[in-house]
Symmetry: C2
Subunit: 274 residues, 2 copies
DNA sequence: AACCAAGTTTCACATATTGGAACCAGCTAG
DNA sequence: CTAGCTGGTTCCAATATGTGAAACTTGGTT
């Protein structure tokens, strides 16, 4: 029936297809027409149509009748809020990120590995007010970012293989490690050293240090990075921050371990104000 | 064939059920056991089980084998990022919120109406760094919040009816409007006045002014509020901010109108494979 | 009027979903 | 140790659901 299609994507019946379509719509990054999706050739006309309808009236997609196009719906935002609070590292990490941010005056990212990609779950922006979802929920490549490499370096062989296979190795800059071999060599170095650099591998001028967040038994549960520009600082200067970052990572890891959900149920009214 | 019947809830086949389950899990606000969900009695054992599995291996749910419990998964966060950027008012409103926040030194909320509830999509916090998802994606009641009432007041009769029906009218404080009648009277006043107050109706000590964001033809597309505490300020003082807020709301509305998605397609990286 | 492309609906067919019931731990109590 | 649990997983026939080619409708062009 099925052999090595297992891993990633669709397969599970109707629900799987529906979610696939959700991804397709979200993936476009802008409202999409029925025909555009159809053109992707992944589903026959009628099926696609029906599924879109279902998703739409479930609020997972929003249909703009004027422009006749679909976009991911707000129900996702509601659900994601809940996901973020429960399943991400962000809530436990928050105070630690704040502290670290106060110490080093640079941009900080908290990321997790998801389907071979880096998923940013929180951020502290040196200056200027934080952007909300615009950053959390964002995904990026693993093979050419500090956090991505930091996490990959501490995966075990089997996991790593899967993740490496999913990398696109697109050459973003002249420094991008654009092959599995180059990447693996780099990962070995990172593993030995204990932390990763991003030497303008993803964006020109942007450099960073990143450390994995390891839970008991060295399981990778996330990564933490401090980012800056080549103009403002140097790799050596960033490297000097490693002890602090490591400390923060350790604290987060420790807390993540013990973090059991408070037995109180949900829905009350929480609001603003500290 | 139909519009305003059946509305939200489940019904659409398997996909609908799956999404229902997603809501159930998310709704608990903490990892849930199979049996807890089962106890809800909405689905027969085997069905629930299968659906949970499907959702899990699609990444919509995360299963913690140690604690044997399900929580909303990270795939939702990814999807929501996209939803937030495309379908919410937040991206267009951002600069205007920043400006408003700078002027009035208080907490600002940007909300939309979703399934009869208030869905917060962005926020500016007077002081202290913004919390990310913790606020965006959060939902709250419509009948006892400034933004909720501001939006309801400008719905047309048919829409309003639907929304009112979904209110729980739980009495949060002694000021809460706890009946459809009281609410409707208030809404009429708000409609006439052009803006809404929250007089400690949701949380004791918390007051706010809110204005709807109306697009061409007076369609409600969101709401904007300035919140503070009874100690720090008064309703009259908040009322004095109305012109500024109205201006901001108008700007957001105008921009939302013209906002067509930049023709550039999805970000440089990969599509949906790799 | 004739055409075309985009979107919507139909319908005979088969596959995916269903859910009662049986099954399998792992526990606790008798 | 055995019976009786509770919580979770698997079977499988019955059938409700989802499928998709093709027909149809809409609205815009020439």
């Amino acid at each position: 029936m099925n052999e090595l299609q297992s891993a990633a994507a669709s397969g599970d019946g109707t629900v799987g297809k529906a979610l696939d379509i959700l991804d397709m719509v979200a993936g476009h990054g802008r409202p999409v027409r029925f025909s555009e999706l159809l053109a992707e050739g992944r589903f026959p006309k009628a099926t696609l149509y029906r599924l879109l309808q279902t998703l739409t009236n479930q609020g997972m997609l929003a249909f703009d009748p004027e422009r006749q196009s679909y976009a991911p719906g707000m129900r996702l935002v509601r659900l994601a809020h809940s996901a973020w609070r429960q399943s991400s590292l962000a809530p436990v990490a928050r105070p630690h990120l704040d502290a670290l941010a106060a110490e080093v005056g640079e941009t900080i990212h908290l990321a997790q590995l998801d389907t071979g990609q880096v998923l940013y779950v929180d951020k502290r922006n040196a200056r200027q007010p934080v952007e909300m979802f615009s950053q959390a929920g964002k995904v990026g490549p693993a093979y050419c970012t500090g956090v991505g490499k930091a996490m990959m370096a501490f995966l075990d062989a089997a996991e790593l293989e899967g993740v490496v296979q999913r990398q696109s190795f697109h050459r973003f800059t002249e420094h991008t490690l654009a092959s599995p071999e180059a990447l693996k060599a780099e990962l070995a170095a990172i593993r030995a050293r204990g932390y990763a650099f991003d030497r303008e591998e993803h964006e020109p001028g942007i450099i960073c240090v990143a450390l994995p967040i390891l839970s008991r038994g060295d399981r990778v549960i996330g990564a933490l990075s401090v980012t800056s520009t080549k103009e403002r600082t140097t790799l050596a200067a960033l490297e000097a921050l490693v002890p602090k970052i490591r400390e923060t990572a350790a604290r987060i890891a420790a807390e993540a371990e013990s973090w059991r959900f408070p037995e109180q149920d949900n829905r009350g009214g929480r609001s603003c104000l500290a």
